[in-house]
Symmetry: C2
Subunit: 418 residues, 2 copies
C-alpha cells in the first residue's frame, strides 16, 4: 500500500513521478514527496502504529517507500527523556530531550539513510554513495553493508578519527577529500552525473532521504501521548532536519493523528563558526551567505546549506529564533547535559543544548512552554573535542592509602559540608 | 507490587532479607534474589509486557526493585537483528544478533546499572561506586548523573581514551588505578567496608545488579515471538551475564510465559589473552585458575572472574562450549560482523563473533539451530583497536580527475568483472 502520489516542486508546484529526481527541470526548485493525505487519514491509526515495530518503520505509511522489508538496523523509536534536572537549572517547567544518540550508528542519520537506501534499492540502484561530515558516512556504510550493497562514501580529510574508523570498518570504499564538506559535496554533485547508477543519498535520492527526518516529529508526538510540544530546538546543518520536523507535526494533523493544527515554535541551533542561517536570521535578511566553516561541531559544518532558506522561513513563520554559539559554549553544553541528565552528546548536541541555554536567556524559549530539544549524535563520535577538557580526577596506586590521600579525604569533607 | 521474597545463598540456600548483602555469612557463597514465582505467574502476561515501556523496564515485575520511576536512560529493548548474510557465510540456517550496542551509553551495562542504582537509591545510598573495565564506569557515571547521585568510579589506568572521556564527562569522581581490573576490584572490595554508605554496584549491591542481565533473555524470547532459541553465544568476563541469561529463559517458563521448559544451549566467548573459564572447560576441570589479562578485549579482561564457576557449570549443563580466540580473530570478528550486517561492535563483540565462528567450525553450534549471539558493546568505544587496521581507501583532491585516478577506474573495473 503506497500513499505517494509523486514528487512536487517546492517552488512552482510542478509534478514528477516518484523516481530518482531531486530538482525541478523548469525552475530548479527542490522536489518534495507528495502523499494522498485523504487516503492516508483513512489508513493510519494510533493502534496500528503502536502495534508496529519498535523503530521508525512503525510509521511506514507516512514514509515514501513501501517495502515490507526495509533496509533496517533498528533506527528510530529512541528515548524521549524528561529532563527535570536540566530544566531546573534553566528555569523551565517542562523540558524533554529526544535522545537520538541511541540510534544504531549513533546518530539521527540512520533515519534518513534507512529510507534513502530502501528506496534506492527499490529503484534498482546497486551502489550507495554520499558526501558526509561523518555521521552520514557511518550510516550509509553500515546500512549498505546490511543490505549487501556496495558503498562509496566521501568525507573531508580532517574528520574525527572515530568517524573515519566507523565508516571504514564496514568494508566499503571510503574516499577522504582534501577540502571542506562543501568541496566534498560539490565533487559528489559532479559525480552524480558521471555515475548515474550510483544512489547519492543526499543528492539524487535526497527527496526520499529527507523524509526520514519526519519520524523525529512523529515519535515525539506519540511519546508525548499524541500531543505536539510548544517549542522544539533543532540543530541546523543543511537545514533539512528542521524543515522536516515541522512538516512531520503538520502531517500528523493532516492524517488525523493530532486533533488540532499543531502550533509548534521551531528554533534552530548553529555553531558560531558555521552559522549562515543564524546570521541571516539576525540580519533580518533572506539571503544566506555561504561561509567557510571553522568549528569543532564538524557534523554541522555545512557552509552552504541546501535547505537553509527553508529552515529560515520555518523558524520565522513559527515564531522561533536561531542561535549561534561559540565552541566554548558547545563544550559547556555537552558537559551540562551529561552532568544533569546522563546523556553524552557529540559536539552537534552541545550546539543544541548551548543554543537552548541562549534562547532561554533571550526569552525566546519561555519558562511555561513544553520544550523538546533534539540531541542527534553520540559523544563517542567526537571524543577529541573533550580530550584535555575532562579526565580522571586522580591516578593512584591500587591501595586504600593512596585512595584516601588522593581523593577520599576530600570527597568526605565535600560531603560533610553539603 | 514486589515479588521479591528475599535473598538466598546460591550454595547453602540460607535466606536473607532484601538488603545490601551479597555474601552468605555462613558459607561465603554468593547471594541471589528469590522471587515468589507463583504470585508472579498470576501477575505477568504477554499483553501487559507489550503495553509497557520500550525499555527493559517492561519486565519490572521480574526485576528485584519495585519503583514506578526507576533510574532510567532507556536501557534495553534493543534490536534483535536477523543476520542472514553472516549466517550464509558461516553455513547457519537461522542466526540472530542481539544488538546491545544500541543502549544509552553503548553497552549492556546500562541494564545492570539501571537496576542496581534504582535499588541503591531505594536502600538509601547517596553515592554510586564501581570497579570497571570501562563500560560499567560509563554507565554508572551516566545513571548517577541522571539521578542526581554522586558517583565514584574506579578504572584501570590503561583504559581506551573513549571510555575515560565517556566516564569523566558526567562530572562524577573518576579514579584511575595503576594496575589491572583485578587490582581495581580488590581495592573496591576493601573500600566497601571502609565506605559502607557507598553503593558499589558490583560489590555490595551486586545481587541486584546482576539480575539486570536477565532482561537480555526476556527480550530475545519476546522478540522471537515468545520462543526460546536453541543456542546462545555469550561473552564471558565475570561470568555473571552468561548465568543470568540462562536464568532469564528458565524464569520465563516458571512464570508461564514460555510453555515448555527451555532447552537453550549456552556457549561462552573469551579472548585467549584472558580465558580462565574457557581454559577450565578445555581442561575438563572445575578449578578456574586466575590469569593476568593480556588482550585488546579490555572489557572482558577479568582474570579472576567472580561467577566463572557458575558460568562454567551453566555451559556444561546445557551442552554448550567455551571458545578462546586470539586478538587477530577478534579484529576479524569485528570486521566480519560490520561487513555482513552493518553492526560495529567493540572488541568484546569481536570476541563473541570470533567465538561463534570457532564454535561453528568445531561443530558445537550446529547448522540447523536457531542461534542468538549477544553483541554487548559499541565499536565507538574501542576505536583504537582498529586504527591502522581500517582507514580511507584513498585521500584525494576535490576533483573528478583525482577521484577517477585514485578510485573510480578501479571501482568500475571491479564492478564489470563481477
Amino acid at each position: 500500500m503506497d500513499f505517494v502520489t509523486g514528487l512536487r516542486c517546492r517552488e512552482c508546484g510542478r509534478s514528477y513521478p516518484a523516481e530518482a529526481l531531486h530538482v525541478c527541470d523548469f525552475c530548479f526548485g527542490p522536489l518534495e514527496v507528495a502523499y494522498d493525505y485523504e487516503r492516508l487519514a483513512a489508513a493510519v491509526s494510533k493502534e496500528a502504529i503502536a502495534a508496529g515495530p519498535a523503530s521508525m518503520w512503525r510509521y511506514r505509511p507516512l514514509l515514501p517507500v513501501d517495502d515490507p522489508n526495509p533496509i533496517d538496523l533498528g533506527a528510530g523509536w529512541t528515548p524521549l527523556v524528561r529532563a527535570d534536572r536540566l530544566a531546573a537549572e534553566l528555569g523551565l517547567r517542562e523540558l524533554w530531550i529526544k535522545n537520538d544518540t541511541a540510534n544504531p550508528t549513533g546518530s539521527f542519520k540512520d533515519r534518513v539513510v534507512s529510507v534513502a537506501l530502501t528506496k534506492a534499492r527499490q529503484l534498482g540502484f546497486k551502489v550507495a554513495a554520499c558526501a558526509s561530515t561523518g555521521n552520514l558516512a557511518n550510516s550509509v556504510a553500515a546500512h549498505a553493508a546490511r543490505a549487501g550493497m556496495a558503498s562509496v562514501v566521501f568525507i573531508p580529510e580532517d574528520l574525527e578519527r572515530a568517524k573515519v574508523v566507523t565508516t571504514a570498518v564496514y568494508g566499503g570504499t571510503v574516499v577522504a577529500v582534501r577540502g571542506t564538506y562543501d568541496d566534498v559535496n560539490r565533487l559528489c554533485a559532479e559525480l552524480t552525473s558521471e555515475r548515474p547508477d550510483w544512489a547519492f543519498v543526499n543528492v539524487n535520492v535526497r527527496t526520499y532521504y529527507a523524509e526520514g527526518s519526519k519520524t523525529l516529529a512523529f515519535e515525539v508526538a506519540e511519546q508525548l501521548g499524541w500531543q505536539a510540544p510548544d517549542h522544539v530546538v533543532v540543530p541546523v546543518a543543511s537545514g533539512s532536519q528542521l524543515t522536516k520536523v515541522r512538516k512531520g507535526f503538520a502531517e500528523l494533523h493532516q492524517v488525523g493523528l493530532l486533533p488540532e493544527p499543531p502550533a509548534v515554535r521551531v528554533s534552530g541551533a548553529q555553531a558560531a563558526g558555521c552559522s549562515p542561517v543564524a546570521q541571516a536570521f539576525a540580519d533580518g535578511t533572506d539571503a544566506i551567505r555561504p561561509v567557510r566553516p571553522q568549528t569543532i561541531a564538524k557534523s554541522l559544518a555545512i557552509g552552504n546549506p541546501a535547505d537553509g532558506w527553508y529552515a529560515l522561513r520555518a523558524v520565522r513563520e513559527t515564531g522561533g529564533a536561531l542561535a549561534a554559539v561559540s565552541d566554548e559554549e558547545v563544550l559547556e553544553g555537552i558537559r551540562l547535559l551529561a552532568r544533569t541528565e546522563g546523556i553524552f552528546a557529540e559536539t552537534a548536541g552541545g550546539v543544541t543544548i548551548a543554543s537552548l541555554v541562549r534562547l532561554v536567556q533571550q526569552g525566546v524559549v519561555r519558562p511555561d512552554e513544553r520544550v523538546v530539544c533534539f540531541v542527534t549524535g553520540h559523544g563517542l563520535k567526537t571524543v577529541e573535542a573533550l580530550t584535555g577538557v575532562v579526565g580522571p580526577t586522580a591516578t593512584i596506586a591500587p591501595t586504600l592509602e593512596a585512595f584516601e590521600e588522593a581523593v577520599g579525604a576530600e570527597l568526605d569533607a565535600d560531603r560533610r559540608t553539603r
